[in-house]
Amino acid sequence: MDVKQDDIRGKIRGHDYRAEISTDLPFRKWLHSWLFDPKIEFNYQKEVENWIALLIVVNLMALLFEQVPQIHEPHALLFHVFDIFSVIVFSIEYLMRLYVAPEDEEFNSDNKKGLAYLRYMKSPFAIVDFLSVAPFYLQAFLPIDLRMLRFLRLLRILKIFRILIPAYQQFVIANKGRTFRQKMHALVFPSEYGGSLQGLFDTFIVVWVIISVVSVVLESVVAIEYILHIQFIIIDAIAVGIFTMEYCMRLYCCVEEPGFESAVTGRFKQAKSSSSVIDFLAILPFFLEIILHHLMDLRFLRVFRLMRLLKLTRYTGATATLTKVIAREMPVLGASAFIMLLLVILTASLGYLFEHDAQPEKFDNIPQSIYWAVITLASVGYGDISPVTAGGRIMTIFLALLGIGIFAIPAALLSSAFTDQLRIERETLTNALYEMLSDGIISEEEAEIINLEAKRLHLSEEDVNRLIDKARKERELKDDVSVLPLHKIAATSEHAVEHYRILISQIRMLGIMTDRERFELVAIKNSRLSDQELDLWRQIQNNESESSSS
């Protein structure tokens, strides 16, 4: 059992799990295994790639900002320091990759170290890596035109192909023999065929959502908008182009999703989904403002570009959990809102009654008093309107105390329901584990499902192990049905048969362990057993004797 259990735990990891790489390995192999070997799961290879990719993106942005004299000139030193930092990081990466090249089968198939270095240096990725840092060192010896230098620095973006090409190759293999639309579906929707290219597609969209939202926020800063007006227009146009393409692709290939198969109604269903509506609203202001600007002033729509932030909800389970919680608690929240509404109207009316004569300009009518009522009941208390009469003040004391409790109800409801939902989701995972453990083995597919769920629920390795233990104990409990109450056993025919078998076995055991003659004597003498019961006893014991003798 222990071996099997270790095997299960070997497959399932929490989000904080790390690969176990022996420290006894030679340093170069150890380094390669930890940082660069894509075949070892849960090492730091993906992190290294991601951080390098991030640095490439930041480099690209720095290059763009350098084109704006108002930004570059006051911060020239900062840009230069960042450039040096980038070159140092990229150089270290290049040298480390060169150092560990003999550990890579791709470059060291014949076990010749010198050739491995040479093969690595001649590989396309290494050439790109070299070109991304070479101009920096070259300018120390040769006078290079600044524009040329900036152009050469653009080559750094080619480093991104180190991530893209393997992902693309993996995608092509996984989608061999599939249709164009199925491939598109694999690219834009999470599926078993998407692989890391689908992850990169999602990351690309997320990055553009962030760039776009940051742009919208910065546009509201007059000093920044004045300098980067054109850049913001370009960013917005590119973002809309990308989001429009994504929206069209999702609508086209959604028919590959289960439940969306119909060409018309499936797409209509997809278009009606909350994520699609958000996608549509994210691009709509751009088209409306440009197409209709001759007819009406639609500049106010620009603020709705901030809704692009909602596109990120697609990539997190937290919002789905919150939506479920709100939907589940809607009746209670509705009741709570009704009580709050009653209290607000009552407070506003009383405020008007007590204060109207004393402060007619502030408590002119009940609708005007509602503002004061909400601010008081919600414990905000701006103080711009306050009661001055004795009656008004006494009433405010009671209502403010009441308001603390009433206004806290929705927050408490949501908070407890959210915790409850998380508990339910963890129990669902436990039940899934329980089912998976029915054969005592967790397959690779099952382990993958559990790993994904553990990641979604932010469970650590310890949490997952605890759930496995819980599921295992429940499974063991199920195996021993005798400890269950009789009505629970009777509920399942399999359990009932198993229980009957155990009971018969126990009767046989009793016959072996007790003095049979004396048993029958007592049973007959005191009429403790009916004839039928005694016959059954004899039948069971005789069968046992016959089977033993034979």
Partner: protein, 187 residues
Amino acid sequence: MANDDNNDNSLDDVGMTNTDRAFLVFLFGVLILTGWLGYEAYLEGHRTETSKQSGETWAKWLTIAGTERFNKDYAPSACAPTDANSTVPHVWGDCLKVITTKPAELSNLINPFTLEPLTVVAACDKEEHTTTGQMILEKALPTPPGSAVPFDVTALTDSDVIDKKLQIHITICDGGDYPIKIAEVEF
């Protein structure tokens, strides 16, 4: 109708169907449209940038003039303070006329939205859109001590006397006739 014709699961690569091709053409069309609209937005942004540059040119000229026009024999004389011998005070209208008449430096500035010479207006007109790309010049006069605002900003009119230093706010009207503040200069 359901699921068109895309259900081949053989291991050979499946080519594109006519529906796929039609979708790609549509997608290409949408991207062209987005690109064109983006280019239109860029052009309008570029026109706004040109207007801003015109405003900055005005700000530069007014700043230099603000430091030199009190010198003796400053030219154009209409922009200098009134002579001690003169009975008619120098006003902004005369100065504006001189500096916006060829071959003066500021006379070459063009409104990029109308491709006509840049003119000075009183305010941006968001309703009628008649002031797109035009410029607003306002004077800021200090308010009496204790006032809620330190300056009272009003349009610089032709009859304003320019004998003393003036705080001038320069604003341009963008493509949607929204004001964009360019600079505050001392003239």
